[in-house]
Amino acid sequence: MLPAAFPMQWLHLSETLAFGTLLTLAPYQAGLAIQRKLRGNPLANPVLIAVLTISAVLLFTGISYREYFAGARIVHLLLGPATVALAIPLADSVKRLRSSLKGALVSIAAGALVSAVTGLWLVRLLGGSAQVANSMAPKAATTPIAMGIAQGVGGEPSLTATFAILAGILVSITVEHLLRWAQVKDWRAYGLAAGTAGSGIGTARAFHLNQQAGAFAGLALGLNGLATAILVPLLVWLTSLVTGR
């Protein structure tokens, strides 16, 4: 028989924090080791491995996600300073590569448009509900922006957060092979693609490929958030005119 729900109240706060942090660090560390061992296998993605392991542990022990997150929030809180820290490689790239900025802006706008249009319309074409389609449209924006947009257009914010994270994992698994196949040769293009389609998790992957790719991914992460916030409400409105809903 499976053990009954593990009573987290028995633990003190410091133990809860240690537990949540350990349950985050250990599978991520293992994921990194597996990635190193299986060089080149894109499925050996540390974020994916960690997320699956944590989900399995929570399901098996009966600990709720909320309780786990209360413990793991130290790791989560580092996301803030890490995002601000993207400014350092970004400023460096902007200084050295001023003349490629215009191309970067155009490509981010194009990527944002393609992501929103295909996300919204493919769900509808394949028989999905309007709510799921509206939750899918802003998925390429960074999670907090995407959730805000979804709220505004009649989507479901928590579903959008899930799509945003899954898109990020998908990007970090595929970006290298897909763009090599498409004969893309410039690191800046890799970074912009990863940041536009995969926001934060995509940006993290870009830094593993190359510092310059990471810097441009950070730029794309920020600007795509803005572009998506403008585009998605407009597209949802246009779509509602056509479908009459």
Binding site: Y28, A104, G111, I145, T162, A167, G168, A189, G222
Partner: protein, 125 residues
Amino acid sequence: MIRAFFLLIVFEMIGDGLRQWLSIPLPGPLMGMFLLTGLLLWKPNAATDGVTRVARGLTSQMALFFVPAGAGVMMEMGRIRKEWIPISAALCVSTAASMLVTAWVMQKAVDGAAGNDAGEPMGGE
């Protein structure tokens, strides 16, 4: 290192404050990123060795910081299962299309401006 963390957190807080006052739809840390980028372009000396080192450390481990939020995906699995065909198809196709278009447009722009500013050459990993 302490000073570097102080700088990053101060900019995160400034970004958060601005977001609340002006109700800008960008999250605080992203506002902080843009503001700090502006400061660094204006005063490059602000990026001391310590700041650069901490920034490199944080950004190289950024994937880890997404894990706690990422595990929340399991909470939505029930709802995803109900419409899993449109969801998985749209997610995969839309994400791949967005990556390809973004990269192709940039590659074209870079090819057009060849010679003006070469990016870092792509070598092995």
